[in-house]
């Protein structure tokens, strides 16, 4: 199997981008990515586009809007979808495209325009990523599902609301240092604890933002990677797991089986373990999701995720810095974009090009973890400075 490297990265500013449409956001990311790689679009052979929602983008085949706007036709392009994990699925699909020998240079683009829909509408669309037949009739929303996970985790392991809030405080701390982040401001534990309840026990600051934004990476075969980039970042391990559609079908609500499986695959393929990871981005759509991710990825024993963040072990300088780009929580979560933006962040960290105050020193091996829905899909990738 051929090696595949990230040779270019770019993204738009995340936020309530009332100045731009889906296709215009994607253009910003693609332009930044190609400029970073110093590669003209003419050299790109194939394109994978991740836009999660037809409903939010107001159209079927939203990828066509992107492909057309950047002037990519008539070359091959396709869309990949797995709700909030769409972006990482697109990265994986880009990898497959190259590893299969079909192409040597592939552009992976994630884009989502979410804020044009009213909050109640977006809440409904996102919630229906879960079991819309058997659980939506109980008014289940995306925060509702994760609230059920949080309540179960608190009952089983004694995880506290203050530990949940500590995740938000950390991610806002780093998001404030990220010029591309949606909400660039620090928050206090008190502010997080006293924010209004969205779905008990989750409060406003336990929830990620609804954002607009786009991200792009350029993937190259080994043959081209070294020619294009002085610092190619290699995708060394890939994992993709699936879990039950219905939350009630899970024997244990405190873990995402899809993450455990995806991590197992990715670690095995890369020949590394959790202790070898220098920097990670994990799917913190809700603060509880970050705590569960610590445990499912093996950064701490099961049940100790709350303590890990409370002890500041996931800050830079701790045992495993996590979401030092602000995470979904502060950087924002344009759903189809997130996985691609995660690859952008890890690439920058491993190149040593992250912003001041949030670069992890001597980061050589990085991990991204991206969840679709409430654990129907999970994607884990291991990136490395070294090819082997």
């Amino acid at each position: 199997m051929g090696n595949v490297a990230v040779v270019g990265v770019g993204q738009s500013h995340f936020g309530i981008r009332s100045d731009a449409s889906l296709r215009e956001l994607a253009f910003e990311a693609v332009k930044a990515c190609l400029e970073d790689a110093h590669v003209p679009l003419a050299d790109v052979q194939s394109m994978v586009v991740s836009v999660a929602s037809d409903e939010l983008s107001c159209a079927l085949q939203p990828s066509a809007q992107v492909v057309d706007y950047i002037g990519f036709h008539p070359r091959p392009s396709f869309r990949v979808e797995g709700a909030c994990a769409s972006g990482s699925m697109a990265v994986r699909t880009g990898w497959m495209n190259i590893a299969s020998g079909l192409a040597d240079l592939v552009l992976v683009v994630g884009a989502e325009k979410m804020t044009e829909a009213p909050t109640a509408r977006a809440t409904e669309v996102l919630g229906r990523a879960g079991d819309f037949l058997w659980e939506y009739p109980f008014g289940m929303t995306f925060p509702g599902y994760y609230a059920l996970i949080a309540q179960a985790h608190m009952a089983k392991y004694g995880t506290t609301e203050a530990q949940l809030a500590a995740v938000a405080v950390k991610n806002h701390h780093y998001g404030a240092l990220n010029p591309y982040a949606h909400m660039r401001k620090e928050i206090t534990l008190e502010k997080a604890m006293n924010s209004f309840v969205v779905a008990a026990p989750l409060k406003l600051y336990d929830c990620c933002l609804i954002s607009d934004g786009a991200a792009a990476i350029l993937l190259a075969s080994e043959k081209l990677a070294k020619r294009i980039s002085k610092k190619p970042i290699w995708i060394r391990g890939l994992g993709l797991g699936t879990g039950s559609l219905s939350l009630a079908h899970r024997e244990d609500l405190t873990t995402l089986g899809a993450t455990v499986e995806a991590a197992r695959q990715a670690y095995e393929m890369a020949g590394v373990g959790p202790k070898d990871i220098d920097v990670a981005v994990v799917h913190d759509c809700f603060t509880i999701a970050e705590i569960v991710a610590y445990e499912d990825l093996g950064f701490c024993p099961k049940g100790e995720g709350g303590r890990l963040v409370e002890d500041r072990e996931t800050y830079i300088g701790g045992t495993i810095p996590v979401n030092v780009d602000g995470g979904l929580k502060s950087k924002g979560h344009p759903i189809g974009t997130t996985g691609v933006s995660m690859a952008v962040e890890i690439t920058k960290q491993l190149r040593g090009e992250a912003d001041e105050g949030r670069q992890v020193p001597k980061a050589e091996v990085g991990l991204s973890h991206n969840v679709g829905g409430n654990g129907q899909h999970a994607v884990v990738h291991v990136f490395s400075q070294d090819k082997e």
Partner: protein
Amino acid sequence: MEFRNFSLLVRDTKVHGFADGLERGELLASKCTSCGKVQYPPQSDCPHCFGTEFEWVPVHGVGKLVSFTSVFVTPDHFTPDLSRTAPFSAYGYQPAPVGIVEMEDGLRVMGWVLGLKADSLRVGMRLAPRPEVLPDGRATVVLVKAEG
């Protein structure tokens, strides 16, 4: 009863009899006639043996609360008029809690918690699932305090 009276969104399914059960006051699971696997929510098809024949069996008894929440920021379908501007309004909207109970045979059932305040709920407490027909003709599943 039309299945959509329960599901809100879906009309057509091979297990539409579930909604008829709710109307009759019965909470129904499916039992695969080939391998005997019981499933809730019911499935017409069996992922264990790939059988496609099933019979209805009632969900009986009392379960233990596995988890619960109260959703304040609601999706479109459930948005009460007063809190249309949620999450930024100051209206004192109180949603009914929603929980999942695990029955003795391992089946897990989601339902609205009826007659209990959210702050009195504890994981592990005993609640019984039962059908409930609403004044508007819709039907749903509720979890109520177990007798005794």
